[in-house]
Subunit: 457 residues, 2 copies
Amino acid sequence: MTLNGLESLIPDSRRVIFDSDIEEKYLSDTLGRLKGRAKALVFPESVREVSDIMKYAYDHKIPVTPRGAGTNLVGSTVPADGGIVLDLSRMNRVLEIDKDTFTATVEPGVVLKDFQELVEQEGLFYPPDPGEKTATIGGNISTNAGGMRAVKYGVTRDYIRGLEVVLADGSVAELGGKVVKDSSGLSLKHLMIGSEGTLGVITKAIVKLIAKPQESLSVLLPFNDLHTGIRAVLNVIRGNLDPTAIEFVEKKVVALGEEYVGLAFPYQDAAAYILLTFDGDDLEEIYKRVEKLRIIAKESGAKDALVLRDGETIDTVWKIRGALVKAVEAKSEQEPVDIVVPINKSAEFIEYINDLEQKTGVQMVSFGHAGDGNVHLCVVRGGRTQEQWEKDRKEVLASAYDKSSELGGLTSGEHGIGLSKKKYLKKAADPLNLQMMKQVKLSLDPKNILNPNKIFD
Amino acid sequence: MTLNGLESLIPDSRRVIFDSDIEEKYLSDTLGRLKGRAKALVFPESVREVSDIMKYAYDHKIPVTPRGAGTNLVGSTVPADGGIVLDLSRMNRVLEIDKDTFTATVEPGVVLKDFQELVEQEGLFYPPDPGEKTATIGGNISTNAGGMRAVKYGVTRDYIRGLEVVLADGSVAELGGKVVKDSSGLSLKHLMIGSEGTLGVITKAIVKLIAKPQESLSVLLPFNDLHTGIRAVLNVIRGNLDPTAIEFVEKKVVALGEEYVGLAFPYQDAAAYILLTFDGDDLEEIYKRVEKLRIIAKESGAKDALVLRDGETIDTVWKIRGALVKAVEAKSEQEPVDIVVPINKSAEFIEYINDLEQKTGVQMVSFGHAGDGNVHLCVVRGGRTQEQWEKDRKEVLASAYDKSSELGGLTSGEHGIGLSKKKYLKKAADPLNLQMMKQVKLSLDPKNILNPNKIFD
């Protein structure tokens, strides 16, 4: 099949690339392990162009894989069924920052980091803060991205007021708006959020902003052993101190990050750490919460409670924390896992993973968002042959996902399902839920052309 | 058609009532104007019974109208197409309050007021606070109920972690769970929330709780004239003071409430008021916000800023505010409207409504949630004949909904669409959106038996 006539939909021929001229990176995700194939790669610059392409694809029944920066970790942007790759990164304008309604209207290709900086210059704040800052807002919406600040501020879903979405047949839907409340029929907006491009192509978003907190600080709690550290997390959560983030990390994991960035944590003699941030407008009030934390930390066996505010130390700590995935990847291929369990099960889950590591010999670096039960694992390949790696990985992942189900957890807290986690979702989810998802998918995309075979078969 | 065999599904014959034995109240909503008809009224006591009834209804293609306390305002619980009314008010157990995960697991018939009191006794807090406290949690979820505290805390949707739902064919789906984050496929949970019983029957909910704020106070800002008062709302919003509620109300409306409850506002010489609440754990910190409010209020033309904390005065003010709808209804039939506009358009909308009132002679008592743009109107019948009332009501409502659309608003902020607002949704919404809703509805309820003809035809 050739895609005759596709090029006529886009006025600039450099924005339509065919077949073997398509660079490999457009056929994969950020990990680059899964590769798809495509007949065409298109860079639309307007909703009109997206609509025209979808009409064309609909008429010719051609699969379309939307993508932003391609930073996803689960193969959502892999064009597994061929067809057209729709790269929205040129639709990257911030159309409006509306200080009266605390909203911004953005195109999907706006890069998260740029957007965060822009609104902060205006005294505003966009709380969703997934680790990957070069992702696009459109991508964040498609996976309902989370991040460290979710403990206090929630996830991407909580900041989407309105969406413009191009449907499978090219029609353009406006969902929600600048309004705060909405009880006006079925929430198509919420259905789109997190749907990984399987229901529509996001071409515009109205996002909620808040006023930028004036003050923030971090507190580092070192622990003598893993067990005490993990168990302390729940005490901290119960303490109701309104922290922005609660991260748990073992010293051996920190050591990887320290080596990678060439810096050191301010407190070395520990086996594990809890790292918290607090923010607000009133420093005194924040310190009151920190004082309460000190008491809880002491009672929970913390060796100290280091308050980190301005300057080098806080930068160092967060630089090391931010570099953990890259530090792992610098040493070995890894499989990222972002299981989410109820917050009071984080400790049990992390302990289970540590035991599993001991038992199987497969290194599983665990860290992440203890405060919201979203435990990240890097399953490390190390020196394994491809065959051994696939066998071992399969085994430990099956155990990890089973344990998560047992604890009332879910397959993904923020990365999405895409291609890579399909089999785990299939195993963990009730078949009825997958059946419902398929029915809803087909009701809005009857020809199954929008990112087909993602999330479910 | 007779419903042979239905009674055998429920062990207690007193819980299945047929035909003319069904009390009228089960055929309507709280307003009682719209009346449906039903062959049977069933009071299930378990998910199993709900499932059995849905299987029966599915096999026989019988419409089913779920209801809780029947407090809805838009005819959502009116069995317009006959069939079975499914009253869930006996499924009213609080199954668990889990302090570790800050969740409660409840059956749908739990009454909001009882639940709020129960969790507050445990030092916890369920923020959604719609005006009607005798509503059930299931009903609140079905309409995505909002309320005054939405300015700070959000709406019902924001507090639903998981749902158990019986589908049209009787199958039972578990959506979400105790987890905080979820990027595990299409969000069927969010699709169910606000769907007014058209997609499934809620039989269980896991709701999010927060720690109960230790302190709260209210501030009353009186204004000399309507215009100054309304315009001040936006300055207050811009002030970023994290209020729990921002209510705007005219003196003439307050006067109705004062007469009704036999009490008086603490500041009489005003044409309009802004009433705010603040909460938190630290009274000093709250007072800092109040001090900032004082400055904004003064600059915005407020005559005073009365801080109301404990005791009679604050009770009086909120008793009057809470009685406004009933005060209107004591005098006349009224049509409730809960249009939502962007927060910076509240003033323009309220001014438009006041002009419309002048022009048409139809009294439209406006008050409500200025802080989140959810303006409530009571369109007052007064002494009109039925014919004149229908004509006048139609005219002013058409104008009000058109103005809302012009301002980027939506048909309903918290009441839902049901039967009464269908025509306004149809006019305001893009036909594409309604088409999408219908497609999604039919994908999950192909025989169209679940609360048919609600939201859309």
